[in-house]
Symmetry: C2
Subunit: 301 residues, 2 copies
């Protein structure tokens, strides 16, 4: 792994691919932004599939289920991508819960549809879904008793745009019980949206609030954490040295690739820029420096 951040063009890309069997793609900021494909990304992914490369999509986005992602892939032109090729925090959370020996099988869920759907499939129940406004509580009730469900055995924190003080307080109080599992879908600080001039806070911001209030550290599912890599190793036959990790964030995607011995490529169509790479280089953060970069996937056509 060079960490040289060498710019790829179509010729160098073709050269690189000779030693690559598997390509792992991040989704938001790489394949698409919001509801639109990044121009050229579908053609690149489809060409790789046609060449016989193994394609895996690994996203830290917990808002959608794998079925939803398959639909989105089909609609945006990533025709070869099926739900079996997709790894997301809901699947990782659900597998962790099934392996764990939880005696209380309800989950306090700070999250969205993707987590709901996966939990529903595995026979776990969840509470806490949707809006939970402070105005629905009296101050006394709030300070003396947060009306917890005694059956809850785990707290999951994922992306939830209904996150608020009430949810933060409930999570912190469930987590007073040291036997209550604390799971975070990921710790991305921001989310690559369709408008680069708008910061969309990521799950990492919500997780940070719960960590401080609960004074506990979560088990984190998404990249760059090991749970993601363990899942991939359990479900696919990959040789890290012949695997290329492609992402738009140095601290999740590139770090994930480097930590696990893969080649890495940054695309500039999402969150991080070459200025970020230079900053990490000055800080000597070798674990965040990609081998290669491209403006966007489509530049490699």
């Amino acid at each position: 792994m060079s960490g040289l951040c060498e710019q790829l063009d179509p010729t160098k890309w073709a050269e690189l691919l000779k030693n690559v069997e598997t390509v792992i793609f991040d989704a938001d900021g790489v394949l698409w932004l919001g509801m639109d494909a990044v121009p050229g990304s579908p053609a690149v992914v489809e060409r790789l599939a046609a060449m016989g490369k193994q394609i895996i999509i690994v996203t830290n986005n917990s808002t959608k289920s794998r079925v939803d992602y398959e639909e989105k892939c089909q609609k945006l032109g990533f025709k070869s991508v099926k739900k079996e090729n997709i790894v997301n925090p809901p699947v990782l959370c659900s597998e962790l819960l099934q392996r764990s020996a939880l005696t209380k099988r309800k989950i306090y869920l700070i999250g969205a549809q993707g987590l709901r759907d996966e939990l529903a499939k595995t026979g776990f129940q969840y509470v806490g879904d949707g809006p939970d406004h402070f105005e629905n509580y009296s101050e006394t009730e709030f300070l003396y008793d947060v009306a917890l469900d005694p059956e809850v055995g785990a707290v999951i924190v994922g992306y939830d745009n209904h996150f608020n003080y009430v949810k933060l307080m409930k999570a912190a109080n469930y987590l007073r019980d040291p036997k209550c599992l604390f799971i975070a879908s990921n710790e991305d600080s921001t989310f690559p949206g369709p408008n680069k001039d708008v910061t969309i806070p990521g799950t990492g911001a919500l997780v940070a609030a719960v960590k401080v209030a609960a004074q506990r550290e979560p088990l984190v599912m998404g990249k760059p954490h090991i749970a993601t890599y363990n899942y991939i190793r359990a479900h696919w036959n990959i040789d890290p040295a012949k695997t290329l990790m492609v992402g738009d964030r140095c601290d999740t995607d590139i770090k994930f690739g480097i930590d696990n011995g893969m080649k890495t490529m940054l695309v500039l169509s999402g969150v991080h820029t070459l200025d970020d790479v230079e900053k990490y280089r000055k800080e000597d953060r070798k674990d965040l420096l990609p081998d290669f970069y491209a403006g966007k996937l489509g530049d490699l056509l």
Copy 2:
């Protein structure tokens, strides 16, 4: 400063007071819990005042103004405490804003009444007050444009039980402008409520979320930060060596006292316990170890 955490009884307390001119008290968990005085605390404070000791109340609680605190003190029996003896984050924020050369004089406020009242006094305007529900926005509006007020020149984060994802997102987007000030009233992780079995998340949890989303560090006003000490030095004539800092949190109150050369006393009527002290001792956190402790102030009568 011994850091020995020696238990005080009325005799040792009387001995200690011979070399003390000023006593600085934290409020929540020391003087009161919720709406009730900690039994014996008013009598101890009043006796100190009668002895001619200088009394200063320094709280990290940003929910009330100094006028409200004076009323609360009078009602709970702290008759000698006037608003001039009280230092709280709203006053510190307001002083900082008046000193700063902000060209945009609106504040995006995540906070409660105390901050609102102090800001109103200083001629600053504020926006963002009260509930701001996600359901009032369309998804498009949310991802493309967060409808910021172009006049905002500072973001203040204090305790706000209407804190939610929308407020987090607005704060993070105001803070994209490096000239926009980022002020935190304090970083207390939890708040000592009337029921010790209930965790009430503190301002520190909300600040943590904004820090992650904005990728910026705030100017923190409350204990143990230097802004509080500077304010005290500017308004009172105190000799730190003859000052006793009394609080219920090692990481805010005791650290504040130790960092600034005062004698320190922990009371166990709020957040921290002797187990916490032992944990800090094992971690060799000399900046968190009090010289003295008492179960509660009233034990010294």
